[in-house]
């Protein structure tokens, strides 16, 4: 049997961890009743979602003139929020695919909920794309449909069309990857279920999984191949999102470093959102033995790395703007830092470049409170980043007579709040009815990485 080095910190804590104990701990939130905090948060999230829904109905009825976007600033909150959500969505696949290829065992406790988060975040992002076309009922024009719908095919030279393909592929592949992992865990819940309705529902959800050796062998092979496919996919999606900007000729957007810079930013914000959710989740669902401080520390290390990459990208951008000698490019960056939107630029710099550097201190990166606060700071910073890139690059274009300012209307703000509500509604429901930890995977590492077996191995060595 594979044994880990004894100096590696265990990933599963607790002295009485057994396979059955893991099942019990993960099934508890599903089988038990929700407490009043769950209902309270769910109520708030639902209210936010309904408010957003009302705003969506309003601007579908009147047109997206109800937004603050104007002739000069044609993309504003819609695309800012789209990129923000899709960026958040990147952590899930990164954790489940890239960390699987690197054989990182710590991903096993967090991959399920991170993937769920990915799926919900991409759904939120999709809402902005669907709505920003203005006439969402004609969105099927985005697909390559025959000529009867007009005289032309879709333009395959356009990054906007690449985006349609990339985001839909990403969403659907993440969905099957997530669902396939859930099938064995649904089977566990099904075989434990006492109530006939629950038995019926989980029987359907588990696809009749019975855990035969042959199925497991196929399951592992498919997981590995899906991870191999998802790894370039996750990098391609945000690269293509960045090409929506980078292939244009707008100063501030026309930058070749955008693809890696956006991918690093996406992973950065995604991990921050995973931390925000899991720090609450582990407490509320009583999973402290599985999602440990060590897991939080690992994620914080990813945040330092990607945050520093983002910081380097910001500085490179500034230097290249200066070094290019192009006055429009130079002005775009000068205007970001000192123009009317200076607060968003400095907000971005503080939240994304300075604050993650605090994680160099071990005390801070192993502190739950500090991590929670910083994870929210990072998400605010990453929202500002997209706002800076989009709005401050557009609002003062080549023609000073069309320079203008942008501010969101309450309808737009309502839409954004609505997607946050939707995200939390989905996540809270997920935490109640789905196994939030991939228990079958976790059971595989009990013998190599749990605190209990570490001690047993140690005793055996002494004898």
């Amino acid at each position: 049997m594979h044994q880990e080095s004894a100096i590696r910190e265990p990933l599963i804590l607790g002295d009485n961890v057994t396979y059955h104990q893991i099942t019990e701990d993960i099934a508890r939130p599903i089988e038990g009743k929700a407490n009043k905090w769950w209902y309270l948060v769910f109520g708030i999230a639902m209210a936010a979602f309904l408010w957003g829904f009302a705003c969506i109905c309003y601007f579908i009825g009147t047109g997206i003139g109800a937004w603050g976007a104007n002739k000069t600033v044609g993309w504003a909150w819609d695309i800012t929020n789209f990129v923000w959500w899709i960026g958040i969505g990147h952590a899930g696949t990164l954790i489940s695919a890239v960390l699987l290829l690197f054989r990182q065992k710590w991903r096993m406790a967090i991959n399920r909920s991170a993937e769920a988060m990915t799926i919900f975040a991409v759904m939120c992002a999709a809402m902005f794309v669907v709505m920003h076309t203005g006439r969402p009922w004609l969105d099927y024009w985005l697909f390559p449909l025959p000529n009867q719908f007009g005289s032309l095919w879709t333009n395959f030279n356009s990054p906007l069309l690449w985006d349609v393909f990339a985001v839909s592929t990403y969403f659907s592949v993440s969905l099957i990857f997530w669902y396939m992992g859930l099938i064995p865990d649904f089977a566990t819940i099904r075989d434990r279920a006492k109530k006939p309705l629950a038995q019926k529902i989980y029987k359907i959800l588990s696809f009749g999984w019975s855990g035969r050796a042959r199925d497991w062998s196929r399951f592992e092979e498919v997981s590995l191949v899906l991870a191999g496919l998802s790894t370039p996919l996750v990098f391609s999606v945000h690269s293509i999102v960045s090409m929506d900007f980078a292939t244009s000729i707008v100063p501030g957007w026309h930058t070749t470093i955008f693809p890696p810079y956006f991918v690093a930013g996406a992973i950065f914000s995604g991990f921050a959102m995973v931390l925000t959710l899991l720090i609450i989740c582990r407490k509320v669902l009583g999973l402290e033995n599985y999602i440990t401080i060590k897991h939080i520390e690992y994620m914080n290390i990813v945040i330092i790395v990607t945050g520093s990459l983002v910081g380097v990208a910001y500085l490179t951008e500034l230097f290249i703007a200066y070094y290019s000698g192009v006055m429009y490019e130079q002005y775009a960056f000068l205007n970001r830092a000192t123009g009317p939107y200076w607060w968003s630029y400095w907000g971005m710099m503080t939240c994304n470049v300075i604050s993650p550097q605090l994680f160099w201190f071990k005390k801070i990166r192993t502190s739950i409170i500090a991590t929670f606060i910083l994870s929210i700071v990072v998400n605010i910073g990453m929202w500002f980043e997209r706002f800076v890139i989009i709005v401050t690059s557009l609002h003062r274009d080549f023609l000073p007579s069309s320079w203008t300012m942008y501010s969101p209307t309450f309808i737009e703000i309502g839409f954004f709040i609505g997607t946050i509500g939707f995200f939390f509604v989905c996540f809270l429901l997920f935490a109640r009815v789905f196994p939030v930890i991939a228990q079958s995977e976790l059971k595989m590492i009990v013998k190599s990485s749990s605190e209990k077996h570490r001690k047993i191995n140690k005793q055996n060595q002494h004898h």
């Binding site: 019975s210 035969r212 092979e221």
Partner: protein, 172 residues
């Protein structure tokens, strides 16, 4: 001579593997193993061949590449060539850099989805299918080894199972 099904239930995956090894050494075929998680190293002991699903994924991926290429060639080059921002449109090859992202996405889309559904149909995992595990505890913490044997061999096999630490042996 009548056949009997023997259910050997283990609490531990390493003991399960010991059992499988002992049975293999005595030439006894294990019909099936039901486990709560994949037990590495078991497949070779009970004679489960390596799955070919990865090969299907490759074939599906190539199919996706071809479909995307064909689609973009037909739409952008053959059926209705359009000059968009002066980008070349008079031949697939010249326009190809712009087609790479969608070719890649289509490859991944076809490989992932078709492989997933091939897995589901091959293992017959579909909504509403009745699970085949004989004991509900095998999705929790028990490992069940299913052996079909002639009446005369039953005692011997039960002995092997007990010897390697099976916590329960049931005859059906």
């Amino acid at each position: 001579m009548s056949k009997k099904s023997i259910h050997g239930i283990y609490d531990d995956d390493d003991q399960l593997k010991d059992g499988a090894r002992l049975l293999r050494d005595h030439g006894i075929k294990v019909k099936e193993v039901f486990s709560p998680f994949p037990v590495h190293g078991l497949d070779a002991l009970i004679g489960v061949p390596r799955t070919r699903l990865a090969i299907t994924a490759f074939v599906y991926g190539i199919t996706g590449t071809c479909l995307a290429t064909l689609m973009m060639w037909y739409m952008m080059v053959s059926d209705w060539p359009t000059d968009v921002g002066g980008k070349p449109n008079w031949g697939y090859f010249y326009n190809m850099p712009a087609f790479i992202p969608i070719t890649f996405e289509s490859t991944v889309l076809c490989a992932a989805h078709l492989m997933f559904w091939t897995f589901m149909f091959r293992s017959w995992l579909l909504p509403g299918v009745t699970p085949k595990n004989p004991d509900p505890r095998t999705t929790d913490d028990k490992f069940l080894m299913l052996i079909e044997a002639n009446d005369s061999d039953v005692d011997k096999i039960v002995g092997y199972l007990k010897q390697t630490g099976a916590s329960e042996v049931n005859l059906k």
